[in-house]
Each structure stands twice: as C-alpha cells, then as structure tokens.
Subunit: 453 residues, 2 copies
C-alpha cells in the first residue's frame, strides 16, 4: 500500500549510494511516491540526496522537487543551471507550483529560467502568477482549469473538455464563462454526463457560485472553503473574469500552517521550525521569547525589590509569589487563546467588545471565587497568618480578573489595529500578567498587613 | 456572492419572527446556504431558531441540520418525532451524515428512526456505519460512491456511471473493483473521457492506489490524505473489499479539530469550547487547569516555606523567584510544543529519544548561557550581591536545561504509553517546572550564600 520510512530502509539506501550502486538506488526509489522521496531527503545528507535525485526518472524528479522542504530545494536548485531548471518544469508542473518554485530563486536566475521555458503560454502564466502576493488567492491559484462557453451545447462541451483535459491533472469542476471570459457558473461533471447532448450549458449550469477575487487573502479563502465544504473555488479578477482555481489540497496546507503558527506563538517560538531542524535554527527561534520572559522576570524583581521593606518584616509573603504569578499566567492564556482562536475561525459571534469583556469578567470572577475559597480553607487549615490568608485569596481573585481582562482585550485590540492577535498569546501575555500580579499581590498584602498585624 | 452575517440582519429577522411574518422570514432565509442558516441559529434563541427551521423548505432543512452545532441540533431533534426525523433524512442526506446524526440520538430513538426510513438499502448502510467507531475511517466514510467492474468496457462504464451518479452529489473518482467487490484501482474521469469506447477499464485504470482500512484511525487518515494531497480516499475492509470513500472536506474538519484540541490543551482549556459558548461551559472548561496551577502554586509555597530561614537572613533572594519560575515555564512549553507538534505531524524524523534529548539539552544550554550571561551583566551593573548574582545566573541555566528535558521527555513518554502527549503542554508542564525551578534556585542559592557571605 503506502510506504513507511524506516531506519533500515535509510541504511540500505545509504549503503547503496556509498557503493555507487545506481541500480539498487533506483530500485529502492523509483516506485515511491514523490512525497516519500522528499521525506527521505530530510533523513540523508545533501550529497546522498543529490545522488538519489540525479538518478530518478525525470517525471518523478519534477514532482519530488515540488514536495521538498524549502531549504533542501534551495540547496538543490543552486547546483542546477537555469536551463536544467526550465527543462524540468516544462510539461511536468502546474503553473502554480512552477511559480512558487521560481519565486524562491534569486531575481537574476528567475529571468533566466523563464526565458528557457519553451512553452510561451506557460511562461506567460507563470509571469502573471509571480505578480500576485503569495498570501492571496492569486498566489495560491493554478491557471490550469477547464472552462466552457455558456452558449455551447453539451456535445461541444464534451469535445472541448477532451481537448483541455490533457493539460489538467484532475477535473473537479468545469467552469462556465461568457464571451468575455466572465465567470457565469459551474458545471458538475455529473450533470454533463446526465444531460441530453443538445442541451445548452447555460440551461444546466449552476449559477449560484462562490468565487474569490485574486486579491482575497489566503486565510479568508481557507475559511470560506472550509465553511462551505468546497473542494475547489474559482478565482476571478476585479471585473469577474475567470483567472484560475484553488483546490482544497492547497488550502489544507494554508489551514495547517495557520494552526501551526498560532500554536508556535502560544508556545513562544518564532518562525516556522520543527523538531528535525538544526540546533542553531531551533535556538534562534526560541531565544526572543525567552528574552521577553527574562525582561518580565527582571521587571518582577524590581517590583519585589520595591516591597523589600515589607518582605523584611513579613518574609512569609514570599511564599505565595509563585502561586499568584502562575495563576495570572494561566488565566491570561486561557482568555487570549479563546479570543485568538475565535478570531481565526470567525466564530466570535456578533457580541461587542464590551459584552465580551463583561462575559470574561464573569467567568474570571466565578473561577477566582471558587479557587480562592479553596485556598482560604487551605490556608486557615495550615494556620497561616490571617493577613497572609486574606492577602493571597483576595489577590488571587483580583489577579484572575485582571489577567482575563488583559487576555481578552489585548488580542481584540491588536486585531483592530491589524496586528496578528496571536502575538498576544504565550510568553507575552504571561509576562504582562506576572508583573501585574506582583503589583496586585503586594499592594493588597501591604493593606492587610497594615490593618491586621 | 456569499452572505455576511450582521447584527442588522439578525435584528430584522428577529423582528419578523416576533410579528409571525412567515413570508419575511422565508425571504430572508430561503436563498441562503445551509451553513449560513446554521450560523444564524447560533445568534438567535432556541424558540426563534425553531420558527425559522419550521418554515424552511424541506431540502434546505436537511442540509441545515447537518451544519448545526451539535448542542443546537440535539435541542432540535428532541422536539421532532422519529417519523419526522426519518422523513427529513430520506433522499436528502449522505449515509455518513445520516449516521453521524442518528448516533447522537438516544438509543431507543435511534431504532425508531431507522425503522421509519423507507429506503431499506439506505437504512442498512446507516446501520453498518453506526457500527464503526466515529474516530476511524469507517466512522468518517460515506457509502455513496461510483464503482465499476474492471472487466467492463468504457462505454458500459459510462452508462453505469450515469445510473449511479444520481445518488452521488459529486464525483471525484470512479473506483474499479473485481467481481468480489475487491478494490482494484481508481479511474480518473479524465481518462474515461479520453479513452476509446471499447477500451477495457482494467487497461486504463490506475492500480497504484492509496486506500485505508475501515479501522484506520481518523488522525492517520488525515495525515495520509494531507501528505499525499489526496482529494478522496477509498476505504476497504480487512480483505480489501470496497466499503466507502472519505473526501477531503471531512478530513479538513478532522485536521481543524485536532489542531484546535492541541491549542486548547496548551492554553489550559479542556473540552471543545469557543468564545460564544455559555459562561457556565467556559468556566467549567477552564477551572480544572487553573486548579492544577493552584496546586502547583501551593506546592511552590511549601518549597519556599521550606527555605524560610534563608529568606529571613537573605530576603533579597525573593526578588528573582518569579524570573526563575517564569523562565522554566517558557522553556518547558517551547520544548513540549515542538515535540507534540512533531508527533502530530509525524515530522519528528527517525532520531532516537536519546538523541532528541541530547539535542534539547544543547539548545537549552545555548539559550541558558546567553540569557544568564546577560542577566549576570545586569546584576553586576545594578550592584546586587555576588551571591545573589551567581545564584540566579547559575540557577537560570540549570532550570532551562531541566525544563527543556522535562518538556521533551514527558510528551515522548506519554506518546509511548498511548496517552495523548498534548496533555503535557500548557499548565501541566509549567506547573512541574515551577516546582522544580524553585528547588533548583533555592538549593543553588543556599550553596552560594553559604560560601560567599
């Protein structure tokens, strides 16, 4: 069925490469899916990967190139001439994949590669695609699609599909356009199979279509396709002319990347890294957020230092510092993540910011009261001083409320001013809440110790 | 194009409902996509939603039912008789959607509904589907598909597709089977259009197929379809007979739900909640993790309390408590999230656990040394005591290393013993690292103060 990459397989393959046993290496790789070969490339060193690549059959090589990790591909293309790159593209790649790969090349090499593509139409399509921002529908779409004129009969249409189909790998929909190429509808293949030969396309096509514009943001395309369970969506320009189509497999990547980015943000990791990346890359991705955490810790030390007099007289106050900051961090992240996820899914509903904040305060108050009551009972039971007992319980409620408010408000505010709200999750929100929590705890503590001791 | 839900729209609709203006309500809703109507139901109260639902046209009503949030749907079906539910299903739902909805009903009602379905074949399919675990390929698949015999000619095949196509909404692939219904290949519609009429299917079909078994886990189906960019995948039983197919739109939901679950885990939220849920539901989803955080805080207080003597003599030690715990929390979450994400994506590579831990320690050591050097310079600059300066810098390096080790090891261990590693992110890992961080800080502090003061 499908291939499972194992350590044994890699060892066998690497042994074959070391013995320059071309036949063995080809036997091991040529029946594999391009995705699997790209995965093998992550496990072997650059030299070995080159050896495998050079002995793949040409069709497979082009597909493998599309599936490679970006950094591995960059390394590869660096060693190929513009002419070799162009000849790999021709006939073997959809325009969107070709444009994505050309976009990664240095500017000068881009022009050279384009000039070596023999199919001028394809080269033209690629040049057009290169003009779109990669995070828009234009940047995602492929230009290979099947379109028919609304005034044609079913039989003409089937003839035309036969012709166009050679260029298109898979057909999900046939798009219906008018004489100016303006999108008028879609035609499920099923209807085409069921309708009498002389029926006009305009009489059987589905005119209730969902389309996106070339400048629609990729994230919005993903939300739309996901919401309406679309397998493909047509892309039109500002006056409605059909320019391309986006299929769900490209969108799955957008969805995955978006989710991974948000997940890494909340974990305090910047940049798109994975466990198999280099130590240097992983270190660089983590240190900025650790540094922010450290700055927060230093600010915290200044605040605690500011209450040094209290701490000298009542050192017992120190013992609940961790509890207060930890709870603030947890409550803040809970609130911010619900908001960030709601913004990403467009599932926040129609409530105003004010109502959302009121709701958060209510939840925070409930959680805060329950937990601080438990803590009150605990502290009474183990005979902590009344001042400490009251300080920490009151501070806990107040801190959970504040943390929840910040956790809700900051991402909503960032979203309003067009900054990705996900930056306000993870270490950022924890650090703010640590600092605020310390203030709350020590001020409340000062009050209770003043009146009760 | 597509509908945008606004507060004005809802107000107009609710006003129409209050005036019992059926025509207005129907005008406002009957042209909408079922997904949009389901979304409206989240914004109005149950009574109003019922009113809208009862005045939808029947076809639309069935589709809306599929798109509703589970709790809203449960409420609805509760008020319908088994016969009404069955009559909504017939002809209007794919078997997989029908099975999902029936599975949500109380056991007794399930049987009643099934007995009222007039198409016995469909009822049989639904009963079969109900036997599969909902988190497996069997639970995800639909039984509506187009299959042809490998021994047929293209022309017979087209005839047969015409017949079968009436039951299937959209055709992505035609599946090829032998006389025992064992899956032999797939047939892209394109090939069918291009081949001469008398060609045998077995000569043009694609036999290099990726399929899944009915008991393959949903998550693995998602990984497979995503990895190989599949739009649909056939599902076979243990002896290879074709049982159904899964399309990518169902998988998009699996991917989204998986990502959301992991995100909520790392934020310390249990259960699948969103911002628009009730205050009670949101409170209940958050309090368990806050409670864990509080237990961690109490443990922390016991540790700090255990060093009360040191704190009385050197109260300045208190000022870096927050810094140490915060940094441990951050470093731990970074490590665990990379592992959890790698496990989910199967992108961890083939390194052994030992090598992964060595890598993490190296990264932690690098980050720790850089940050604690900065902190050392800061502490010297603001004239903190040498004992405190050294304690906090050394403790910081040690704590980052420990936190990273736990962050790496715990999710790998949980995965090994078949527990979802995502539980080891967020508050869980932070809490453990808070407690360990305090130990490290105070033991190292005790050492330096003993020798340097």
């Amino acid at each position: 069925m499908h291939f499972e990459l194992t350590r044994e397989y890699i060892e066998k393959l690497v042994a074959g490469i070391q013995q320059q046993d071309i036949e063995l290496v080809q036997n091991l790789t040529n029946d594999l899916h391009p995705v699997d070969i790209a995965e093998i490339f992550d496990e072997v060193d650059a030299e070995d990967a080159r050896f495998i690549y050079l002995h793949l059959n040409k069709d497979l090589a082009a597909d493998v190139l599309i599936e490679m990790e970006e950094d591995v591909r960059e390394e590869f293309l660096h060693h190929l001439s513009s002419e070799e790159i162009a000849s790999v593209f021709i006939d073997n790649m959809d325009s969107d994949d070709a444009a994505d790969i050309i976009a990664e090349l240095p500017e000068k090499k881009q022009d050279e590669v384009l000039s070596h593509i023999s199919d001028v139409d394809q080269a033209g399509d690629i040049v057009d695609l290169l003009n779109y921002d990669e995070d828009t529908a234009g940047g995602l779409m492929a230009t290979e699609l099947i379109s028919v004129n609304e005034n044609w009969a079913v039989i003409t249409c089937i003839e035309e599909i036969r012709k166009q189909a050679e260029e298109v790998d898979e057909i999900y929909f046939v798009y219906v356009v008018d004489d100016s190429n303006v999108l008028k509808g879609t035609l499920p293949l099923k209807k085409l199979l069921l309708a009498p030969e002389k029926t006009l396309i305009k009489d059987i096509c589905n005119t209730d279509i969902i389309s996106v514009k070339t400048d629609t943001e990729a994230e919005n395309v993903a939300n739309l396709m996901e919401k309406y369970n679309l397998v493909a969506v047509p892309v039109v320009d500002s006056i409605g002319r059909l320019k391309g189509r986006i299929t769900i497999d490209d969108i799955v990547d957008v969805i995955k990347e978006g989710a991974e980015k948000d997940y890494q943000m909340i974990s305090g990791i910047s940049g798109d890294v994975e466990a198999s990346d280099s130590i240097f890359k992983l270190t660089r991705a983590r240190i900025p957020w650790l540094f922010i955490g450290m700055v927060g810790g230093v600010l915290g030390s200044l605040i605690i230092g500011g209450f040094a007099d209290e701490l000298k007289i009542y050192p017992e106050m120190a013992i609940f510092i961790t509890l207060i900051t930890a709870m603030g961090g947890n409550a803040g992240i809970q609130s911010s993540s619900i908001i960030v996820q709601g913004l990403a899914n467009k599932s926040l509903g129609l409530d105003s910011t004010g109502r959302k904040l009121v709701k958060e305060v209510t939840i925070a108050l409930l959680n805060g009261l329950i937990l601080s009551s438990l803590l009150l009972i605990y502290n009474i039971a183990i005979h902590h001083s009344i001042a400490l007992t009251l300080s920490v319980s009151v501070a806990l409620v107040v801190e959970i409320i504040f943390a929840s408010l910040f956790g809700t408000f900051i991402p909503l505010f960032l979203h309003r001013i067009k900054i990705d709200p996900a930056v306000a999750t993870g270490p950022f929100i924890t650090t703010i809440n640590d600092v605020i929590g310390l203030f709350i705890y020590f001020y409340i503590g000062r009050f209770f110790y003043l009146f009760l001791m």
